[in-house]
Amino acid sequence: MIKKNFKDITDEEPSKVHEHISFLKANKAWVKKSMQIAVGVLKVLREKNISQNTLAEKLNVSPQYVNKILKGNENLTLETITKIEEILNIQLINIITAHCQTEVIVPQNLKVYSKQTKPTRVVPAKKAAKVKTLNTVKQ
C-alpha cells in the first residue's frame, strides 16, 4: 500500500453529530422544557394506552409531527401545548407569577387535573383569605 499524506483524508465528511450537539447547546434551555413536556405526554399515553397515531388524529396533525414532538427537541407553540392538555386532560405547564401576593378564591367544584406533578393548594371559597401564592392555575 502506498503511504499517503494525512491531508488526503480531510475531505472526509465530518459526522453530523456536531450539528446536533451545537443545536442542543444553543437551545438547551427550551429543549429541556420540550423534553419535560414530551416525557409528561409519553407517561400519560402509556398510562391511558393511547397511541401516538390516535394523538395525531385528535390534534389533526401528521403522526410524523407527533413523533417529532415526542422526541423532545421541538420548539412547541403555546397553542399546541394547550391542545395536548385539552385532549389528554392533563396539565403540562403552569403560569408562575413570582413575588406576588394575591387573593385566591377557588370554587369548591374545582376540576382536579390528573397526573399533576405538583399538587396545587386549594383554598375553599368559604375560607377565602389573602394568600401568598406562586402559582396561578388556569381553570
Binding site: 500500500m1 502506498i2 503511504k3 499517503k4 494525512f6 488526503d8 483524508i9 480531510t10 475531505d11 472526509e12 465528511e13 465530518p14 459526522s15 453530523k16 453529530v17 446536533h20 450537539i21 442542543l24 447547546k25 438547551k28 429543549v31 429541556k32 423534553m35 419535560q36 414530551a38 416525557v39 409528561g40 409519553l42 407517561k43 402509556r46 413523533n67 415526542l70 422526541k71 423532545g72 427537541n73
Partner: protein, 175 residues
C-alpha cells in the same frame, strides 16, 4: 464499512448502515425523549440503582450527552487516558477493544495504536457484566465486526487505517 471523522485526527466512528455513524446514532438516542422513555421503562433497575425517577433520568441523560461530546473533544489528544480496555479481552496484540464510561453511559471503540480510536457504539449501562444485557451484547458484536474488518484490510496501525479511508474516498470520487 465506512468511517466518519468525529475529531480529527484521533477520533472516528464506524458507519454500518444508513450513512449515520454509530456515535451520532448514540447521541441522538441519548437526546430522544421517546427512546429514553421506552428504555428506562424497560430497564427500571438503572433507576433503582441511581435512585432516580424516569423524568429526572431523561433530563440528566440529555446533560450527560452534551458533557460526553465536550469531554471527548477536550481530550481528543489524550483518548488513551480516558478510554480503558475491556477486561474480558486482555491479551489482544493489536486493535484493542476499549470503553469510556461516565455515570450510566458507555462508549465503545477500537484503538489503533496509542492515540487513534474508532467508536463502534454506545449504551446506557445497567448491569455489571456486558454479556448479561442485550444492548451491551450488541456492542460486543459491533466491536468484533469492526476489529475483524480492520484486520482483514491489513489495518493494524495508524498509517494503514488512513490509507483505507483514502481508498474509500477515491472510490467515491469515481462516481
Amino acid at each position: 464499512m465506512k468511517f466518519n471523522t468525529i475529531f480529527e485526527p484521533n477520533l472516528y466512528s464506524v458507519i454500518f448502515d444508513n450513512n449515520t455513524d454509530e456515535f451520532e446514532k448514540f447521541l441522538r438516542f441519548l437526546t430522544d425523549a421517546t427512546q429514553l422513555e421506552v428504555y428506562f421503562n424497560e430497564n427500571r433497575n438503572v433507576l433503582k440503582y441511581y435512585n432516580i425517577s424516569i423524568e429526572d433520568a431523561i433530563e440528566k441523560t440529555l446533560d450527560l450527552s452534551i458533557e460526553l461530546y465536550e469531554y471527548l473533544k477536550l481530550n481528543r489528544n489524550n483518548l488513551d487516558k480516558i478510554f480503558e480496555p475491556l477486561k474480558s479481552f486482555g491479551g489482544e496484540y493489536a486493535l484493542h477493544r476499549m470503553k469510556f464510561k461516565s455515570n450510566w453511559i458507555r462508549v465503545y471503540a477500537i484503538k489503533i495504536e496509542s492515540k487513534y480510536f474508532v467508536i463502534t457504539g454506545g449504551v446506557i449501562k445497567q448491569s455489571n457484566k456486558m454479556k448479561e444485557h442485550i444492548g451491551t451484547q450488541k456492542q460486543l458484536v459491533n466491536l468484533s465486526k469492526v476489529r475483524e474488518y480492520l484486520l482483514e484490510q491489513g489495518i493494524v496501525d495508524v498509517d494503514g487505517f488512513f490509507e483505507l479511508i483514502n481508498e474509500k474516498n477515491d472510490d467515491k470520487k469515481e462516481f
